[in-house]
Symmetry: C2
Subunit: 354 residues, 2 copies
């Protein structure tokens, strides 16, 4: 998978630059957005749109959503190069959500540098993030692969379905963040992940199936694979926060246990609250509720998670989801090499160490 | 027009409540967003979605986008009651942009009460605002009027075109706000209005034409009407800020001259900078650049605008745009009563006093 990533990345970035050039001018604006009634201001739009967008993209990101799309397209018998513009759709959507999430979470750092709103202001960041929700959706209408009308309509209906669920997932996550008590259970947590992270994965898979005209059973199977892998990824992310923290607790005074400090209701926390004896569950709840935590409190929270077997439980659930993801595409009769890549990817999302 | 507004409003609000009920439960979530993979959290989504959405809608707003849509639909020979769900599309989009704009502008007040993000937090406000960009777009796929596939696709392509331009307009406005100097000219100002405010108007008109299957010439004509009226409205809005301020300057210590204090590059300001002699233009620029203004400075800015004839100029441009809007639908052979209503509306947007 990693070789493929490296191979495709320049082509993907080129396709994104076709959509939003690094240097924009009136000719680009006219060709992409239509003839103006009066006159566009390319100078202002360079500052408000292109510069912040490329600032984020140039910081990295693995473009794995675009690559996964291309892997599916190739497996479905089409030429990935021909579908590069479509590969940008989930990639730009994803980066747009990152910008908006960072404003919502009041994040300070993104990919090792200041979050976009800290550089350009909240207004520019939000507008570019929101613009990135709609820019890629225009690709379907531009129709670079000359798709029949029913495929274009199917793509729009799918995108509207999944993007609605994305906001549902984010809504649940935010609601829980603003509550003090740990109110929800494991099923709600998994649903939040399935909506918030899973739907972008589903867009990757379903779009590949739609543009290459696969039957519904195939579209459903790859969507399931992508959703399950995304949920496993999200749980892997939560585990990583604890493990990284345990590895470097106190080291150089670095921040650790960010999720605990933020009072995040992770799968581990939800599990520990249910499985611990009353006093320890109450103590964990109490540490999560505090606005500020000492290092000792964070370590105490970790030990409650460990004693309840919650880290192990989360890892097992993630592995189980990854296995379900592999099973979802098992009947698809994919090429052995593709299957190997896709299976490897379900392991990578849990076992990665960054 | 105002009678129609009052008549339709309860039905419009009912249609919106069909889309996002005031009280949401698992059954609604399942029917609108699809069967969950795991389990939704209606309690959290009530707090993060339905409550803030209705908080804003219940504060008022004239729903004129929905009403204008219904006026067009009726004129196009269809039963407005049948198209009520579609009337919600521009209305919910508009209210979503209001929530997001208020976060971007760090607004404190909306419709006489605290801006949503001041009550629910920036995270909830932004997510509900963004959710309102996608919730209404699902109506096309739900297809309550049983439209043929080509009409649904045309609706999506139109919406993606206009929503992209909306973000372009907002991007220009934000870029200028963040610049100190008044760099742009009148044509760019009008384009910003055409994109930012005009595109939502165009959605109203084009959607009505698309769902009732009008020829392109009719769709273009009503789109032009709506865009021109919206630009006139925007200029009217800027004039209103000055006139209100002149009327109550100093009264009870109330804030006045908000646009000047915010350094907003209105049509009047752009005109005055170009038409005033060098020294006065520089002084106006200087007042706009300041982070804080005294009341005397605001009054001085007003007198520069007045001396340059900029308030009169703006009113004339608005009247001219309104006349162009009326001319745009002149050849359409609309019913005399509809034409009267639509013409009256172009005057109302400039002459209104609130």
């Amino acid at each position: 998978m990693r070789e493929t990533l490296a191979d495709w990345r320049p082509a993907i970035d080129e396709a994104i630059a076709d959509l939003v050039p690094r240097e924009i001018d009136a000719a680009y604006l006219e060709s992409f957005f239509g003839v103006p009634t009066y006159e566009y201001d390319p100078v202002g739009l360079q500052r408000a749109l292109s510069t912040p967008l490329w600032e984020l993209l140039d910081r990295g990101g693995k473009r794995w959503r675009a690559v996964l799309f291309l892997v599916f397209v190739e497996e479905f018998g089409a030429d990935p190069a021909e579908y590069l513009p479509y590969a940008c759709i989930p990639e730009i959507l994803h980066n747009g959500t990152i910008i908006v999430d960072d404003v919502e979470d009041e994040a300070t750092i993104r990919r090792g540098e200041p979050a976009l709103h800290r550089i350009y202001g909240r207004d520019v960041a939000l507008n570019v993030g929101n613009a990135m929700y709609f820019l890629p959706l225009k690709i379907i209408a531009q129709d670079p692969a000359d798709l029949p009308a029913d495929r274009r309509l199917a793509a729009y209906e799918m995108l509207m379905h999944e993007l609605n669920r994305t906001h549902l997932g984010q809504g649940m996550d935010i609601a829980w963040h603003n509550e003090r008590e740990v109110r929800v259970g494991i099923e709600e947590y998994l649903e939040m992940c399935a909506c918030k992270t899973g739907c972008l994965g589903r867009i990757v898979a379903r779009l590949a199936a739609i543009v290459t005209d696969q039957p519904p059973s195939v579209e459903d199977a790859v969507a399931k694979y992508a959703e399950l892998t995304a949920v496993a990824f999200q749980i892997g992310d939560d585990i990583l926060d604890v493990e990284h923290s345990l590895g470097r607790a106190g080291e150089f005074g670095k921040a650790f246990g960010n999720d605990i400090r933020e009072g995040k209701k992770t799968l581990m926390v939800i599990h520990a609250i249910r499985e611990s004896e009353r006093e320890r569950a109450r103590r964990l709840q109490n540490i999560l509720e505090k606005d500020e935590n000492t290092d000792d409190e964070v370590l105490e929270a970790f030990s409650i998670l460990e004693d309840a077997g919650s880290i192990e439980y989360a890892r097992e659930r993630a592995l189980e989801l990854a296995a379900q993801a592999r099973a979802a595409i098992d009947g698809l009769d994919f090429d052995a090499e593709t299957t190997r890549k896709l299976n490897e990817f379900t392991e990578f999302v849990i076992e990665r160490d960054e």
